[in-house]
Symmetry: D2
Subunit: 361 residues, 4 copies
């Protein structure tokens, strides 16, 4: 259990860091979508390693192969099977840690759970698995485009360097113009410097990815347990290295009073709008038509180039030495993953809301 996400628009992934291939099956994609493969490739490029000096220098081409579900360029309604071969399978690199538990990795917990461990690069627990999600998310995004719904994530914090401006004051598209993916060029430059310094220290650092979803229609969400933000939260917390999720006013909102926090309704032409949007576009677990926005906290990457104490499978004290090519900070490459998971949630929830009223039955 745990390898599927979504209810009607559902993905199931397989694959580990150094196996033959990763892949994903996408179910529930409506038939008749003209699939633009170049858009999937573009998303894969945003996530892939080796993009810049502040990401890992590992090379993976992340070439997607669509095996089914598309005929004459259009989706057929049947499951879309995608395979991504692992071109960079250097399992010998990992012999030095094959029986050691790397601190704050999943080595120990996988070993405890399964009694066996694929020690090559973290196996299934590697963030490499998210490549499959990005491919699936790119299809979800194409569906959302047909309804004018857009999703834009960006880096809003690295270490204690925080983007202070509200997203409304920024041109979010600018996030793609720099290697850290922060829409404010000045802050971006500082963040890049910070990460570069951390990298030179052979260390890593955490960060925050923020995300804004525009034009979700009102009425999307499945209370009480499957509230729209609860599913978004689960989607984000299911990404490697995530430690927290908040939407709308979030943790800052606890300091506010109700009289300040409540979003007054106003009529604008045919539309009901809110004057403020502390609700983050979701009320009672259902979208209200305003922007949905949220923050996702990523911890510092666990793989550092500094020696660390640990134990091995026999319970002996050992030293773990960092090797290989790793990200000093995960957030720039996490941006497309956050978007992908958000897109999957929104598509799924639009499908779930198709027959809430008798006239739609």
């Amino acid at each position: 259990m745990g390898n599927s996400f979504g209810k009607l628009f559902k993905i199931t992934t397989f694959g580990e860091s150094h196996g033959q291939a990763l892949g994903v099956i996408i179910e529930g994609c409506p038939a008749g979508l003209e699939l633009d493969e170049s858009k999937i490739i573009a998303e894969m490029q945003r996530r892939k390693p080796g993009q810049s000096k502040i990401t890992t220098q590992r090379k993976e081409e992340d070439e997607i192969q669509i095996k089914s579900g598309v005929f004459e360029g259009k989706t057929t309604g049947t499951p879309i099977g995608i395979v991504i071969n692992n071109s960079d399978q250097k399992s010998k690199d990992y012999s030095h840690i094959s029986d050691k538990f790397r601190p704050s990795h999943a080595d120990y917990t996988y070993f405890t759970k399964y009694g066996i461990r694929d020690y090559r690069g973290g196996g299934r627990s590697s963030a490499r698995e998210t490549a499959a999600r990005v491919a699936a998310g790119a299809i979800a995004k194409q569906l959302l485009e047909t309804k004018g719904i857009s999703i834009q994530a960006f880096v809003s914090q690295v270490g204690d360097l925080k983007l202070e401006k509200h997203y409304g004051e920024l041109d979010l598209a600018k996030a793609e113009e720099n290697i850290i993916r922060c829409p404010d060029p000045e802050t971006a430059a500082q963040m890049i410097d910070l990460i570069d310094g951390v990298r030179k220290d052979r260390d890593t650092i955490g960060g925050v990815v923020s995300c804004v979803i525009k034009n979700t229609p009102a009425g999307i969400g499945e209370p009480v347990f499957d509230r729209l933000h609860a599913e978004l939260g689960k989607a984000m917390l299911g990404i490697n290295a995530v430690k927290g999720f908040e939407y709308g006013s979030g943790f800052e909102g606890v300091k506010m009073r109700g009289s300040e926090h409540n979003d007054a309704f106003v009529q604008e032409g045919d539309a009901v709008k809110t004057k403020t949007n502390y609700s983050g576009g979701i009320q009672g677990g259902i979208s209200n038509g305003e922007d949905i926005y949220f923050n996702v906290a990523f911890k510092p990457v666990a793989t550092i180039m500094i020696d660390q104490e640990s134990v091995n499978e026999s319970g002996e004290a050992v030293t773990v030495s960092g090797k290989g090519r790793h990200d000093p900070c995960v957030v720039p490459r996490a941006v497309p993953i956050v978007e992908a998971m958000a897109a999957l949630v929104i598509v799924d929830y639009i499908l779930l809301a198709k027959s809430n009223k008798l006239q739609d039955f």
Copy 2:
């Protein structure tokens, strides 16, 4: 969809604020548990309204009726049906808002989704529904007790008044000794004063509930999408008024470097332990045996006693006047709800992990 939670230990709830009754069906409870009904009642008491001056003065007895699944005092393995009658059904109280959308409530979104609205006290979107969860969670807790697993939530922040001590420095049991449920008596007194002042201002305020789970065995969790913390996060985000969730180092962790954040493994007798616990007891989505701890952010209650601007179903500008008996701050009553949802997750995930190894098949 959305009224069930859990996979093997699964609850499904029904009921709205001012209907005849609430209820819950609990599936997957192992047979042979001697059910202590007084413990369920005790949890219901912790959640029920009218407990103190800082909670709503509404009266609801929240008496539970166990309709099935228990025979001669023991669970039988079949679904446990629980009904909780609504004794305080004063629907006339709500005529003044029957066609108005209360700001930051779910009135507008339910109306948009369903085309119809049960305007009596928020209907299904009312936090009254959580009574059913607390009843179910009380049974989950009894199961966890048989394995020595304990769950303790407490209030760690009200407004900007924050409990500064780490939970390890506190006697968490003391949380139940004051009406705000904060384990530090001094901070508790300040929080109570703060809420009392807010209440007198006819306003409301937000807060944070923290939770610590002790003795979860290592190896519990379902990567990649159903990581233990992702499910805990979804469970918490599914509680009314929640705006954020973080576990372990959380949002603060993003400021740290990997060399500081990584939890070094050490052998202690037969057990593998970690020196620090920034991971929050979960690595790669699977428990490692350390304490699991997390924070849940609650926004200020939307119902305030101050007049507010809004619109009605016809799109006319209206004034919403607060009436009735409402909580000035939701966190003291949210403590047992957080525990209940946490207990449901842990029981469910223990069941899910029963056959991860061939020798357990």
Copy 3:
């Protein structure tokens, strides 16, 4: 697990034969349906015991209480909670079999599975649980009525007495005019005599219920595993005492040649029809717009008034003596249960098919 049925229109039941109450939560009912409670009551009457000399003489009023999900006579889209009290709780009647395993009942298997047994009338394994399904099915039927879809079941065989006419030659509505629910009056009279004789012999006998669903739109079904007929089959096999399911040509169809069995397509005005209907209205797991029809085999009721050999929980040989008031043949009361389960499947699958094409997204 196992107490829920359906994906989007989903029911979850609780309750055992001699507990306090049975009940059901119905999720996914579109909002705005004017619920006619008298129609639910009418279905309950068709299932309830004590209807005639060929059913059990046990008395159960089967009064339904709708606890939630309906406001001002209309469904609200939130879960509908229904409770049915058990008025006839005579647990003392069952002391004579409390540690004996009744042959071909579920006593032994429940005991093996759960290590505990509610011996009062079979507990959860009693067909009494189907009362909850009939209540839920009655709501599904009201939904189907709004689309002109009708479901009619009837008895087509008792013992080796078989209704020879094809359903198309009969006025199926006549099934409700006699106590066996066979639409052919002559065969009905013979069936009643047969059952009456079996009853006097203190024995029981099996039978077949057939069912016809008219006006299901084409395009409903979820291949490859959740084919429409596979879900109908599961629904029927989930009814107590069912041993077989066949649809369309069924087991007889295996004797045919493809040239005879294939249903030729013909155009009739705007509609594509088939000349014959050996497919039973379903091709490739998806409805084609023709009548859906199927047969359900029910074994003879296990409770007989004749002494039987068995063993008890200690492994001792014992005699089980039949007592109480039981059905000599289950099929007349099974007719509304078959219809209820069929209605639940069709509603659920209509909801599942809402967004198969991009233009419906």
Copy 4:
């Protein structure tokens, strides 16, 4: 929806007849199983086309590629991804039927549902998809072997030629010694002759596959809706061309009286056994330890070499001419598919029953 089967041991398939590849993701396989790939290949061989004169002469190598979930020869507990390339992609063969609806195929229903149709060999509706199931089932079988559970299917009827002996009187292993897979050599010879004649008539014929599962422990099953036989039934009805399912006494059982049909319990050493087994090893939806046996009815293959009337997408009357290489009777190749689906159900249900008692929690 509909491309997954199972709850804890779950498969999800993708792929269509003439796409690039088929595949399956298998979740929930316990870690540590030494996977014998030759056994998977052997099962693929049993299903593949071109085995004998009474199967299609089409060639497909059905070579499996295990992409993930296995490390150093053992399962790791993570999802097993398997890809099967389609070597025989002759889409040009299908141009003659690209806009015609073949009688009793799924062409019309897929077109209605999705508004688009992959006309190459039936696309997703082709039985070719079952190759993925057989691969997954072969892994389930290896799990069952570790517990001594065996599954043996065989052909028991072709047309009106029926194997009259009870399975207990036969050496079922002999089924694999002839091309029709009937364990009685004499009947097998007659069946082969019958099919050969049908083939020469350019026609097709139906048949029945029977299946026996030995050594399932007592206590496996999930009432009330997910009874073991209901899930087996759904599994079988989800196979292409299946029209009926019956277990134990089945449709014949309806003719019996309770006094004859009831299976008396007897103690044999430590074990509770039944004297007869009309129950088919399942009582109240839960296994009782006796043999589980059932029959599956397959209709005659829809593709015949004889001209047929039909309509095309424009509603014009057309003639469909059979072309290509097709099975005159599906049952010999259906035998491994029936076994595969049965194995998947039994493994899944064993996992589901792991914590029914408190002592196993």
